[in-house]
Symmetry: C2
Subunit: 120 residues, 2 copies
């Protein structure tokens, strides 16, 4: 795993309630918006999608850099943002570092956006 000083995945505040059911608290909004912000870049979304849909649920960085017209450091930067948002996790195996998505985090976001039953 990369060295990387701080960057614990943030707590899942109020994990299961929908955004649409009742107003978010300031703290909940802070945590959720940090994750949505991480998804708010097309490169990061594609990276996440590539990792999630890759065979075995994980992908090596070398498999991610191809397919982007971006430098290695830039891909590395985006992976770090996804990691610090608690959306993915990296593991070193030999020379390569493999990333996988943390499904629980995706589920939390998906749930938060689920429209309230009364609204449909």
């Amino acid at each position: 795993m990369p060295k990387q000083a701080a960057a614990e995945p943030p707590e899942l505040a109020g994990c299961c309630s929908a955004l649409t059911a009742e107003p978010l608290t300031t703290d909940e909004a802070e945590v959720l918006s940090q994750r949505f912000k991480a998804l708010g870049d097309p490169v990061r979304l594609r990276l996440l999608s590539l990792i999630a849909s890759h065979e075995g649920g994980e992908a090596c960085v070398c498999e991610l850099t191809t397919g982007f017209d971006l430098s290695g450091p830039t891909i590395s930067h985006h992976l770090r943002v996804l990691r610090e948002a608690g959306l993915i996790d990296g593991q070193r195996r030999g020379t390569w570092i493999y990333y996988r998505v943390l499904p629980e985090a995706l589920r939390t976001l998906s749930q938060a956006l689920r429209p309230a039953a009364a609204m449909i």
Copy 2:
């Protein structure tokens, strides 16, 4: 409805597939990331939550500005970002402007983040 030049809600590219099932195309990532970026700010998330959870499914701007330590123009700016992302819609009734969420847009995002069945 506010004047506002361009800003049609963007097309729902590939509306129902999950991010985790197969890699996003560049275009899909562009559309989705624009919406996630709009959610990537705690103020906007709270605004969306306030509107969605408000009685009747809609809220007047005057009801939104209270509860934030922000100027009117700033709230207006965030509402515009949400509107241009296709997440909310505004309607003028007399002196007041009422905003409501577009549930379809939320559903699209929620679906995109739904973890693949095989992953759980």
